[in-house]
Amino acid sequence: MTAQGLEDGYATAAHRRIDRVRALNGAMVLILIVLFAASLLAGRIWLTPGEVLDGLFSSRAQLPSLIVAELRLPRAVLAVLVGATLGISGAVLQGLTRNPLAEPGLLGITSGASFGAVLAIYFGLSQLSLTVIPAFGLVGSFAAMLLTFALGRGGGTLALVLAGAAVNSFGVALIALALNLAPGVDAAYEIMTWLMGSLANRSWDQVLLAAPFIAAGCVLLAFTGRALDALSLGEAQAASLGVNLQRLRVTALLGTALAVGGATSVTGAVGFIGLVAPHLVRPFAGYQPSRILLPSATAGAVLLLAADIATRLISIGPEIKLGVFTALLGTPFFFWLVVRLRRTAP
């Protein structure tokens, strides 16, 4: 039997398999569109689809149109951007470390961004402008990235992960110190609220601020796909296949610092999305690192958008913060993951 004959024979089956990823991406984009529309309709004041369309496309400054255009639309856009960022960076870091528990916070970057923002709040600099906290957050995430990189260089992936854990602990300790020394009740309350993560009352200003960093970071992360695939075979074989491991680490780290730093700076600390999203899509994409990047991004966007809508609709007393919500839902997932690993482990 010729290779061509074999190939044709299996082409149908292969085609079916490729379709799974396409189907997955298609389904998720569809869900995303539905949720996005729901995000514009839902809230304490439910709008009709007519009012939403009017708000989006007409130029009259009517009440519903203001709510949609200036409050709900930037919020939904931000949810999609931040969710996608967390999803794709989680996928890249899980691929880089070959560890299913990796997430953007692993390398210390989210706590660096959080500490940067906390510093801005602590010194009362956020009064100057809306851009101060995000700017400090980005500086913080970059500082964390450089520190992790410097600590872990030359030691392979394990050293990188350990360095990230060390930087993470350091960031958390510094945040606790800031809380401890907070100059007034307001600052402490504020820091804690910020650490719980939220998308409430965000405006186009924040979208415009975060978007360039998110875009730049996500582009860098997208380019790591091929190298991550090769890394499935271990570092020696990947190197033999022409993968520059150092460059891969730098790209992944820099991409995460830009994207996750930018995202965390405008929303506060939101966890678990980066952990959960890749796991949800992996079985449908053949477990291959490069093929889960885009689905992870869309899954992350879907999850965060859904969580945000949920926090708006749950009305038991004070607002449930986004980060609290994702943590509450993410932890059962963690349990399930452990149980599953226990069953499949030798």
Binding site: A3, Q4, L6, E7, Y10, A13, A14, R17, I18, R98, A222, F223, G225, R226, D229, A230, L231, S232, L233, G234, A236, Q237, A239, S240, L241, G242, V243, N244, G286, Y287, Q288, P289
Partner: protein
């Protein structure tokens, strides 16, 4: 015909010399079995020859050019390397695993071209893996996994194949198959270098044997001639006979020799 030349290379790590003054000239059509006791430096030599470990002294040349002057992608297209105890971290399908061998020629995004897809199928067929094509690589048996890794190494059609302990952990049938495959590849014009513990198979299937001892070349010559009891006594510290003749020759181990070295002179692996 490709040519790989190592000229007086030495590799040190942590102040200790792992390889000293190793010279080797290898070309396409050869199947070189590298033998030696644990800790002799076989893995290090293979890594160095693959261009993954720069030697502390001396130089390695591939087709006349220093191996360090090759770009990693270019080198990846010319030679394939399989380390000891290879693993696959994610449960991807065998087809995709084999496809990873094409990484050096794939662009940043996108799938395989039709020609590449055909090539993958061809290699799967050559290595008897068509039935396992869509199976998850982590569920393969030892023999199947070894074949899958070999297929991954061959899919890019490299001129040089460097394999560290390809027969480790395989049952007798799969060992013989692996050795036979490597010999076939060399007879097709490729240069195959493998480190081997099974001396009988090395003797029967390799064209040439290079013996390492304490980081130096103890013997280098045609397989059947080089394998002799004196060599075995010297580097393996065993009393052994080469029994049988020609293709039925085998190494018959008799007894270990009393240890020549004081314990603290032993080189740890």
């Amino acid at each position: 015909m490709t040519e790989l030349v190592a000229a007086n290379i030495g590799v040190s790590r942590g102040g200790r010399a792992i390889l000293s003054d190793v010279s080797l000239r290898a070309g396409g059509g050869e199947f070189i079995a590298v033998i030696g006791p644990n800790g002799a430096g076989k893995s290090t030599l293979l890594s160095a020859l693959a261009g993954l470990l720069p030697p502390s002294s001396g130089a390695i040349r591939l087709d006349g050019r220093r191996i360090t002057s090759f770009g990693t992608s270019e080198l990846a297209r010319r030679r394939a390397y399989l380390p000891q105890d290879p693993r696959c971290e994610w449960p991807i399908s065998v087809e995709r695993l084999v496809g990873l061998g094409l990484t050096p020629v794939l662009p940043a995004f996108g799938g395989f071209s039709r020609a590449q897809q055909t090539r993958i199928t061809q290699v799967l067929s050559d290595c008897d893996l068509l039935a396992q094509r869509y199976q998850s690589a982590t569920t393969l048996s030892g023999g199947e996994f070894a074949r899958a890794m070999l297929a991954r190494a061959l899919v890019g059609d490299p001129q040089i194949l460097i394999v560290d302990e390809p027969m480790e952990g395989l049952d007798p049938r799969h060992r013989i198959e692996a050795a036979s495959r490597l010999r076939t590849l060399s007879s097709e014009g490729k240069l195959v270098i493998a480190s081997v513990h099974d001396l009988t198979l090395a003797m029967r299937y390799a064209t040439r044997i290079v013996a390492l001892y304490h980081g130096r070349v103890a013997a280098d010559g045609p397989a059947l001639e080089t394998m002799n009891p004196d060599l075995l006594r010297r580097i393996f510290e065993v009393d052994a006979e080469i029994a049988g003749t020609e293709v039925r020759a085998y190494v018959d181990y008799l007894a270990p020799l009393p240890s020549r070295h004081a314990p603290d002179e032993r080189i740890s692996p």
